[in-house]
């Protein structure tokens, strides 16, 4: 659904889309609010041996097992300082729940399509493959994360 909405950013510059904003390694990012099922604080995460490195483990969300993906590792960023509490954005794909581990979840924002830009071609591939575009905010830039691609972990791990 992300892609769907972003493919027609010119449909009207006043059209608004709502994002849950989050930070990972000080970069502001956004996930379309409709993708988000839950926001969780620090959770107990069970490690999954032999899993791809991006998979942080699994956690229990009210009786459902959620696979946690570490966004920092997915974006090839340095691990956070030990002991820093992290938050999770829970999304659903193909009937399965996934939690994206992020540094901080901030607020829900309504953004005008007029502020949307495609990825700058110079963006590093680690980011451009997961970014669906950029919003120009007053203070900073917001990277729209493509949840589908973030979750498309190759089995080769």
């Amino acid at each position: 659904m992300t892609v769907d909405l972003l493919e027609r950013p010119q449909a009207g510059i006043d059209e608004e889309q709502v994002f849950v904003t989050l930070t990972v390694a000080d970069q502001l990012c956004g996930v379309p609010v409709l993708c988000v099922r839950d926001i969780l604080g620090e959770q107990t995460i069970t490690r999954i041996p032999l899993a791809p490195p991006e998979v942080a483990g699994s956690l229990n969300l009210r009786g459902r097992i959620v696979t946690a993906i570490d966004l920092r590792r997915r974006l090839r960023l340095a691990p956070p300082q030990a002991g820093t509490p992290r938050m999770s954005v829970v999304t659903e794909q193909g009937g399965e729940l996934y939690a994206l581990l992020v540094d901080q979840v901030s607020e829900v924002m309504s953004l005008k399509a007029g502020a949307f830009e495609h990825n700058p071609p110079t963006l590093s591939p680690e980011w451009s493959q997961f970014s669906a575009g950029v919003y120009r905010l007053d203070e900073q830039l917001l990277v729209v994360l493509d949840v589908g691609r973030l979750l498309a972990l190759s089995n080769a791990g």
Binding site: P49, N60, G63, I65, T67, Y98
Partner: protein, 860 residues
């Protein structure tokens, strides 16, 4: 609808289901008076109630059927298949009418005169009007367009008369579902059940938290009510879990009737064996596999089993056998459908593949037989040369495969020419409750399905005299467990948990049964067993074969469930592509082939040598200086006695500080075989392909993908003790006991003959059941027979039946040798007439069994 009528419908439906079963039983045992009276009573009750409720059609049909049964009961009419068929036909009509009745509240219109006339004719002792006997067996088989995939065989849904030119057509109301009939049950969508399940899980977690809180307060008014809440929650959880589970027998209950009708239609004798009918699985899955299973059973009956004459010619029992076997294995349900028929004809499949352009000749040339056989799962494939009503419509196995894969399952096949075909369906459970052992390694907890756990052993990593010690061959850990070597894997290493492997201290070993193989899993701690709900892992983790799922424990934490099969594959035990999941020998329903644990070692050259692990008593690694000489021959002091050492290769490297030795033991006598290096223990099929060119070797086999020489232990034992096989005091009395050994494997025969000979028996070997039977017919006499179970052409079970049936050997003690003696195999063996069951290689057990069998006076 009238309450009285509703009650009648429910009751009648129950009676009808019981009648089906009882009639088939009666057909097999026509003299069974109890069954007959039971049937008569049921039909009589139906008739009586119909009259009371004013249902003339039902009453007349039931009355006519009752007449026939009455004649059978008082003996004026034999309970032969034709009679049973006509009664079954009548019951089908009753079912159709009852269905219509349930739908509309009134008897559907229709004419039963032809049927009643046929019943009356039979009752009067006349042969039934020609087509009634067989063609009208209303199975729905003749229905459907030629390309209908796996036509359903619901007799209720397809009124019998629709296929029958003799009887009047049924009213249209009949095919409707059975609303009032099922008044005892209600339909609930799966989502509702899923939601309930989730809610209950949450409730359990909350309960656990409360209990934790309550524990910290010593005296609390909450304690008692909380305890009650806890119990109720547990019951609720159990109840909700149960709602989704159904025994697989529910999907099978129509099969006996189908097979019975098929066997009549095709003139074959077929026996249907159903094992594990109480294996529970998700009811949604159950519904989805019903049709594929039915189709496969019909395929087995039609294509798989030969005609009676062909079977006789092939030396098989006339009655073909179709076996269904269901069981849990590592979070999956395994359903095996096997027959002891002709097997899949590779040549015909190959020809058909070429003709249909599914593969080129070059591609086919590089394929194994198993790969070629898998073509039957491709769309548009059927080998039946004639299209029968039963199968062979050009659809079938591909539809079966698609249906099974739709629910996330897989299907494998194994076929041996002349011995039959086994299909193995593996269905993952979306929701299955299993009992699991919780263990920990490197601080992480894991669940191991209890079903594969045989025992727990506590062992030390360093010798301290008290507990067993984990020993290492090269770097491979092994454990001596009751005089057998148990291969071990370290869970920490296996899962790359990253903890430094401990060198000292205690360890727990979970001994797991994987197929026929045993494997010890080294863990740090063992907790409790818990009932867990298996949940599939996320798709991005499905490639990790070590896990069969994950679950949430009572304390709310997520835990991975280990898959012993995956572990075995990862460690090379029981691995080898196509054959891995379907180790089932088609004919006897046993679940493992002739896989044997082999000890690989090297001596006097780079190429590996092998010996069956079961023959090796112990492995020793002795310091060089303890090798002494006695009369020029090397010996060592072993457990307070001198043990002769025999160099396997001509020259022994006397510079090496330590000497690996394979110890063979027989009673109080031991012998050590000096080798260069002990390499590995692997499990493989032992098939000697080349016979040996030099003494001391039996021949060469492919083990673990490499050509490996298998040593002749008998030869080496004689090197140590000239009289190894002659040392036993001969039996008292003049005559030696004669034993016949029926065993297809040259290797085992060569092993058994000297062993038994050494024990004082006169032994004759036969390479197949047919050879043995020729000996019988030639008048050879024996005191006992030892027979393998898994043999080509005629297996041990069939052999035992024939021996028991008649002839001079009918009363001889029969001892079965089996690679694995599982309870159902033992039972099948005993049914066939075997006196005793001994696992292969259990030399002592075999000798003990023989002694016992021969000591008892042979039944005169």
């Amino acid at each position: 609808m009238d309450e009285l009528l509703a009650e009648f419908l429910t009751e009648t439906n129950e009676s009808l289901a019981e009648l089906d079963v009882a009639l088939l039983k009666l057909e097999r045992t026509p003299d069974d008076h109890d069954t007959l009276s039971f049937i008569f009573r049921l039909v009589h009750t139906i008739k009586g109630t119909c009259g009371f409720l004013g249902l003339p059609r039902l009453e007349h049909v039931a009355h006519a059927a009752e007449n026939v049964l009455g004649k059978v009961r008082d003996g004026s009419l034999p309970a032969e298949p034709n009679t049973i068929s006509i009664v079954l036909t009548a019951l089908d009509r009753v079912k159709a009418i009852v269905t219509g009745l349930a739908a509309t509240g009134a008897e559907p219109a229709g004419d039963d005169q032809a049927l009643i006339a046929a019943l009356d004719a039979v009752a009067a002792g006349e042969p039934p009007p020609s087509p009634v006997g067989r063609d009208n067996v209303p199975t729905g088989l003749a229905e459907g367009t030629p390309c209908e995939p796996a036509p359903p065989l619901e007799t209720e849904a397809s009124p019998p008369a629709a296929t029958s030119p003799v009887f009047a057509p049924q009213p249209a109301a009949a095919p409707l579902a059975e609303p009032a009939v099922a008044a005892q049950t209600i339909r609930v969508t799966v989502e509702v059940l899923e939601d309930l399940m989730t809610l209950v899980s949450e409730l359990v977690l909350t309960r656990n938290q409360l209990l934790q809180l309550a524990r910290s307060q010593e005296t609390s008014d909450f304690a008692a009510p909380l305890q009650r809440l806890s119990h109720i929650t547990s019951d609720l959880q159990e109840g909700v879990m149960k709602t989704r589970m159904q025994p697989i027998g529910n999907a099978w209950n129509k099969l006996p009737r189908i097979v019975r009708d098929l066997s009549h239609e095709m003139g074959k004798k077929i026996e249907l064996v159903m094992l594990g009918a109480d294996t529970e699985l998700d009811r949604q899955v159950l519904e989805l596999i019903k049709d594929p299973l039915t189709h496969m059973v019909r395929n087995s009956a039609d294509h798989g089993l030969e005609a009676t004459a062909d079977r006789r010619a092939a030396g098989k029992p006339e009655t073909g056998r179709i076996a269904l076997n269901a069981f849990h294995e590592g979070g999956h349900i395994i359903i095996e459908v096997s027959d002891d028929g002709r097997g899949l004809p590779v040549d015909r499949i190959r020809a058909k593949v070429l003709a249909n352009g599914l593969a080129t000749e070059a591609e086919l040339a590089s394929m194994t037989d198993a790969q070629i056989q898998r073509f039957i799962f491709r769309a548009g494939f059927s080998t039946a040369s004639t299209v029968t009503a039963v199968s062979g419509r050009g659809v079938g196995m591909d539809v079966v495969k698609t249906n099974i894969e739709k629910i996330g399952g897989s299907i494998e096949l194994k076929s041996e020419p002349g011995r039959g075909t086994t299909f193995t369906i593996k269905i993952p459970l979306t929701l299955a409750i299993i009992s699991a052992l919780i263990v920990a390694a490197a601080g992480e907890r894991f669940a191991i399905p209890q079903i594969s756990v045989v025992e727990l052993v506590r062992a030390n990593r360093r010798a301290d005299g008290a507990n067993p010690v984990i020993e290492r061959i090269n770097d491979t850990p092994v454990l001596r467990l009751r005089d057998r070597l148990l291969p071990l894997v370290n869970l920490n290493d296996l899962l790359a948990l990253g903890a430094t492997t401990q060198e000292t201290g205690g360890a727990h070993i979970v001994v797991a049964q994987i197929g026929a193989a045993m494997l010890g899993i080294i863990v740090d701690r063992v907790f409790d067993t818990e009932e867990i709900v298996v949940k599939p892992v996320a798709p991005i983790l499905r490639h990790i074969t070590m896990f069969s799922g994950n679950t949430i424990l009572g304390d709310g934490s997520v835990i991975m469930i280990l898959d012993p099969n995956g572990i075995a594959r990862a460690t090379g035990i029981g691995a080898s592509g196509e054959s891995k999941a379907v180790g089932a020998a088609a004919a006897d329903g046993s679940r493992s082939g002739d896989r044997t644990a082999m000890l690989l070692f090297r001596a006097g050259g780079p190429q590996p040598l092998a010996v069956p692990l079961g023959l090796v008593a112990r492995l020793e690694d002795i310091p060089r200086e303890t090798v002494e000489a006695s009369c020029g021959a090397p010996v060592t002091q072993y457990r307070g006695r001198l043990m002769p050492l025999v160099p396997m290769s001509g020259s022994v490297d006397i510079t090496a500080p330590r000497q690996p030795v394979l110890v063979f033991a027989d009673g109080d006598r031991t012998m050590g075989l000096m080798v260069d290096e002990i390499v590995d223990v692997i499990e493989d099929r032992l098939h000697i392909e080349l016979s040996a060119a030099r003494p001391g070797l039996l021949g060469t086999a492919v083990i673990g993908g490499r050509a490996t020489d298998v040593i002749d232990t008998g030869y080496w034992l004689e090197q140590a003790w000239r009289d190894w096989f002659r040392g036993k005091p001969k039996q008292e009395g003049a005559r030696l006991r004669r034993v016949l050994v029926v065993e297809d494997s040259d290797f085992f025969r060569q092993l058994l003959l000297p062993t038994l000979g050494a024990a004082g028996y006169e032994v004759v070997g036969a390479a197949s059941a047919a050879v043995a039977l020729r000996l019988r017919d030639a008048g050879a006499t024996f005191d006992a027979i030892v027979s393998d179970i898994c043999m080509p052409d005629m297996d041990g079970i069939a052999f035992a039946r024939i021996v028991r049936e008649s002839g001079a050997w009918a009363r001889l003690p029969l001892i079965a040798l089996s690679g694995n003696a599982e309870p159902q195999d033992v039972e099948a063996g005993r049914d066939a007439g075997f006196t005793d069951f001994v696992a292969k290689f259990q030399r002592e057990a075999l000798l003990a069994s023989l002694q016992q069998c021969l000591a008892e006076p042979v039944a005169a």
